[in-house]
Symmetry: none
Subunit: 189 residues, 4 copies
């Protein structure tokens, strides 16, 4: 219904910026639609007009600032995985950065539709990049041919997420390396 051609880009940016600021500065509980609107100097209706839920605002704010995922391909699979896994583990370990993950996860749990969007728009590139790298390795014979690459990707990111949510152990480079070791052991020919 809303006419996107008339949309104020200025308000849109103010809202997304306000959302990111509030995510970084305050408790997630304080990050309400009203707070975003107030912080952005925007009417609440302007938010409701363009997004259906708070989670979508957060998602768009995050996708906007996401750096395009480029996975290195040095030829050395283990080194390449180590790099990406170390980076991911570091991100989950950083309280500042993981605040956004917290927020997004809560929203995903309340809205299946959003969960799909987060998966496809935010995470898929990352997951696919790893998968693609694994596919290359498989073609090069570094990985057994019957390995389920989608599952292998989950073997990498699932444990990190699990450990992060449960505070089930330290999120250190050593942990990242151990994880890579075990996953590679699972797929080596």
């Amino acid at each position: 219904m809303p006419d996107a051609t008339r949309r104020s880009e200025q308000s849109r940016r103010a809202i997304l910026d306000a959302a990111l600021t509030l995510l970084a500065e305050t408790d997630y509980a304080k990050m309400t639609i009203e707070a975003i609107a107030a912080r952005a100097g925007v009417g609440k209706q302007t938010i409701y007009r363009w997004w259906r839920r708070k989670g979508e605002v957060i998602l768009e704010a995050l996708t906007g600032q996401a750096t395009p995922v480029v996975l290195p391909d040095s030829g050395d699979l283990e080194a390449d995985l180590r790099e990406v896994v170390r980076a991911t583990v570091a991100e989950f370990g950083d309280p500042r950065l993981s605040a956004t993950t917290r927020a997004l996860t809560v929203e995903m749990l309340s809205d299946d539709d959003l969960a799909g969007q987060v998966r496809d728009r935010l995470l898929r590139p990352q997951l696919d990049a790893v998968r693609d790298r694994l596919a290359v390795a498989r073609e090069q014979g570094q990985i057994r041919t019957d390995a389920d690459l989608g599952l292998v990707v989950e073997l990498i990111f699932g444990p990190i997420f699990h450990r992060w949510l449960l505070s089930n152990g330290p999120l250190t480079p050593a942990y990242a390396d151990g994880l890579v070791d075990h996953v590679l052991a699972a797929v080596r020919p």
Copy 2:
């Protein structure tokens, strides 16, 4: 401050039962403290007197009904793991059962303290049971000696949780079996 010796066991049970009923019957958003109190025929203060947050009520309700974890030890590690992983995958795949996981996860994300309690009281027994089974297998030489058993446990449960949260694929017995296959491949001597 409250005097636990004078606590009404009847009210406590009514509250925990009401919480479970609401979790099973309704949307998580409708599962408010007021709704629990009303359903239990109890004053709100009686809830606030004994629990600090809704998540603690849910946790206690769930721990109360948790069946003690017994992991089979048939001598066949793969068969044993298959059984427990299939059961876990089935649980996450069942919308009814996973409603409680949703609720608890949301609460954990809002309260680190609760996250610790959930980990230690609810999940630890399950995780440790698997770990213990792996330890037995390692002593029997079915697993390489340098495997990090804690990490292996995460390799099993992390992907399930990851797939469930992201709706990243079907949660079927076949998936469970594939997961066990890959994990075992990682740890076989």
Copy 3:
């Protein structure tokens, strides 16, 4: 803080009407802010936005329906006073009408600010009307020149209020007449 220009006149009227209805129908103890809001079909916040206490709602409701005070001036001071005093005594004697006086008095006793408003907005017109009538009579030589007219007004209304509050005797026309007799005796030249 609230923007009075955007105020809903419809809600305002519904609230004041509900307040009057509840005063007439129910016990004063049941006349809560929540009950007013429910009866008016209005959010509690809409009451709190525009009034600070229940007493202010009642005051505004009563001033809204107050009939303008017109004191007769037949030339016969005694007859005129008799009329107004009889009416006042009848009002205090009527359980229905005195319910509002009860309510308002309780509120006045809990809030000095409100007491002043009730005095100035609700009672002052009545008191001043009597005082003015007395002033006319004084100019006509029917009242001694050194009479303190403010005090004379209190001599009239004070005893009525006193008797009403203490149930210290009947509130009848005969009482009204006796009161007028004595007060006039006090001020005749």
Copy 4:
């Protein structure tokens, strides 16, 4: 039902003292049954067992400390009235003392039964003392024989109460004297 012979005089005194202390120290709104019990170091039930409402506690606390009313009879009616009216006006003018009047008045307005008790037990002695003094004066020919002494008493105390409740003017000795003047003018033969 309760057996008064077993009643703890110590608790009774503690409750009445606590009530008076709270009346003097705090806002009337903070003077709850729970606050009295806590301050007195007494169980709530001990209050409910012996009094039906908060107002009765206050009443008993006040009657307990009331000084017996003795009205002077110097032979000079005007001087005698001036004394008692000045004292009354001073009491109403003192914020500390009038706090108890406030409390009691609120309770009276919520409970007719209590109103009667306050009238008969607390105020009657004072009112009757004045009335008796007036009766003596009437026998001595200082007051016209057809004066309604009950009404005259109301002419004295009603205006004070009225002025106090409405903050309708200063409560000073000059006011007291003016009041006596006018009342005496009303009853002189």
